[in-house]
Amino acid sequence: MIELAFILATLVFFMVSALTSRPLYNLSQKHYSNRVTAHYGFKVSDLHYSYDQMIYFISMPTTLPYIKNALKEDLVIEQDYSSYFFPVLKGIKISLKQNSENMYLAYLPIGNFRLPHLDKLQHEGTIHEQTYLRISTSKLLDPGTLQEVREEVYKQLQVGRY
């Protein structure tokens, strides 16, 4: 009995760890960012950001009809984490989902998601790179930011940058 009980408990242990690690990681980044930004007198929501360094895997504006004709809602945003047990956000992937197939269009590595105010604080020596990373992670995970990224990618595909 103990063999079965322990094996099941072990499985439950790993499953719960894996399933809850990402939401709890996201939550901890949010709490940490709110605490630190409050300490320095600003809010995460007030931070301006740039997703200019988004890496696109297709030409812009595209001439491919199935991408050109895609709806904004067809764009899927996925968070890219390093692992299940020790998740660290590496970036966000934007893909096009059509007829149950996924086509990757763009990727924004977290290191390229820059926030000018944090750049300034880091340059002044007020915050460390790790703090910068945690706050930018929290900002990038914000639903409002993700929605804006979706709109930006959609627009870039339609009209291009120049």
């Binding site: 009980a5 322990f6 709890l24 301006h48 988004m54 750049d119 300034k120 940058r161 120049y162």
Partner: protein, 513 residues
């Protein structure tokens, strides 16, 4: 406690332990995170001992050894194996020497596998990163090439190049400046730069771009000049004329036709000292812009704000863009030269008939607007047929060239001078009233009279002279371009009839035939 209860309690404990560990471990450092996760697995083992006794501990503790090996690799696996022996010893009687080799093998294996997987993951990530970087550069290159192919305007090309080098989505350097080769490629002239003059300004611009969500096309089309090119930086840059010298780094980049990275300023190179003093930069790179072996210019890049070192990989990545830029700039330059030639007289260098029609159209006052008058001076050389008959056309050409210089030297910077045909010349004076035009006409006449021309002694009066007619749009009888030309022409006819070498203006006439 029944076995069933113990079973459920163990499952509940597993859930509780993993949840508690997860709540804690993401708020601490990476090391503590892994330590908590390993400790959580040990707690689960201990809970099972609590419910079921220590009989099975010798194998249940493998969970802890494997988890620690996963978290801390080889060292973690071995340390957990040794710790496990101690734990088993504390729970049972007698030293479990027999299981130690097994624990060590399992701990080492878990650590080794974990390390192997981590290395694979890193390798994969490194490949991914390199491919993404290449994809990004290809994308920038593709976009910039398309834009460059769409224009021959040097100004726009420079903006596209600089913005692509400095924009976030582009190559991301903090600052970029373009120097173009001038004076038969003996020196480099600073043309335009993008980026801040200092770090503080850099952060201000960066914040502004992010705040306003400005796109590259906004920067290029609308705000490029006013808000995002530092006026101070550009004023200094435009005043620079760096000689292309074998002993300076600019000359080195052009002669070697390869990028040069200056990591620290050499006091023996005046050009490096100049760049450091003017732009407060300690490290920069020079990318030669070369097309078919011809030196077009230099692209200077630096990271004044974030101080990120410039690597060989950076310069390698910028080269395709620089080569493309060099071709585009060379073509734009050739186009400008051809356009220049198409509007100028080949002999005298003055503007020609085609240019005259265009400039006359551009400056002729629109109907009802008499506030911006346009004056026209027309003149020709007196007895020029006689001069050519006596001295030949070659000397006549020399006279025409010399006369053109006299005309240009007699005018104001915004006046236009044209060779109208043969020995006939025209001057257009935008924003000039008749009396001011008369003064200028007299100045031309007088300067021609005073100037020395080859063969002029053969002229009837012993010197080369011109007769001049002047007209202005502020006369009520002049409403069209043709009427302005005709009026000045009639005035010239009067000047010829009045004995030549004189100025006559149209005010003396009442109607145009």
């Amino acid at each position: 406690m029944s076995k069933l209860n113990a079973f459920f309690l163990l499952i509940i404990a597993a859930v509780g332990i993993s949840l508690t560990a997860n709540v804690l471990r993401f708020n601490v450092s990476v090391f503590l995170n892994q330590l908590i996760f390993s400790a959580a697995s040990l707690i689960l083992v201990e809970v099972s001992v609590y419910f079921y006794g220590s009989n099975q501990l010798s194998w249940t503790i493998l969970l802890f050894i494997a988890t620690a090996g996963y978290c801390f690799k080889l060292i973690g696996g071995i340390a957990a194996a040794l710790t496990s022996v101690l734990i088993v010893y504390l729970h049972t009687e007698g030293f479990p020497l027999a299981v130690l080799p097994i624990y060590l093998v399992i701990g080492a294996s878990a650590g080794y596998i974990s390390q192997y997987l981590l290395n694979k993951k890193r390798e994969h990530h490194s490949w991914m990163y390199m491919l993404m970087e290449q994809s990004k550069h290809l994308q920038v290159f593709r976009e910039v090439s398309t834009t460059m192919q769409g224009t021959l305007q040097q100004d726009l090309l420079l903006k596209v190049i600089l913005t692509s080098v400095t924009a976030g989505h582009g190559l991301g350097f903090n600052r970029a400046m373009i120097f173009l080769a001038s004076n038969q490629a003996k020196s480099l002239k600073g043309i335009v730069g993008v980026g801040p003059m200092d770090v503080k300004k850099g952060y201000e611009v960066w914040e502004k771009i992010s705040e306003d969500r400005l796109k590259l096309r906004d920067l290029i089309e609308h705000n490029f000049d006013s808000n995002f090119t530092d006026p101070e930086l550009n004023a200094i840059l435009r005043s620079l004329d760096i000689p292309i010298d074998e002993h300076n780094v600019f000359g080195l980049a052009l002669s070697s036709q390869k990028p040069v990275i200056v990591k620290s300023i050499s006091k023996e190179d005046m050009s490096q000292i100049l760049i450091k003093d003017l732009f407060q930069t300690e490290e920069f790179a020079l990318i030669p812009l070369i097309n078919q072996g011809k030196n077009i210019g230099i692209l200077l890049i630096d990271n004044i704000v974030n101080k990120r070192p410039i690597t060989l990989m950076d310069t390698e990545n910028i080269l395709p863009l620089a080569n493309q830029a060099a071709i585009a700039l060379d073509h734009a330059n050739l186009y400008e030269q051809i356009e220049e030639m198409a509007l100028h007289d080949g002999l005298t260098g003055l503007l020609n008939q085609r240019a005259f029609q265009k400039i006359l159209n551009d400056h002729f006052p629109i109907e009802g607007n008499r506030n911006s008058p346009l004056s026209l001076i027309i003149f020709d050389i007196d007895f020029f047929k006689v001069f050519n008959d006596k001295n030949g056309h070659l000397l006549g050409n020399e006279v025409l060239m010399k006369l053109a210089r006299v005309i240009v030297n007699s005018l104001r910077p915004d006046d236009f001078s044209f060779r109208f045909g043969g020995e006939e010349f025209v001057v257009l004076l935008p924003g000039t009233l008749l009396d001011q035009a008369e003064v200028l006409a007299e100045k031309i006449r007088s300067n021609v009279e005073k100037a020395s021309f080859p063969g002029e002694k053969t002229q009837p009066s012993g010197t080369l002279t011109v007769s001049i007619g002047v007209a202005c749009t502020n006369h009520s009888g002049i409403t069209t371009k043709n009427e302005l030309i005709e009026a000045a022409d009639q005035a010239l006819y009067k000047a010829k009839n009045a004995g030549k070498n004189t100025v006559v203006s149209f005010k003396e006439f009442v109607t145009i035939d």
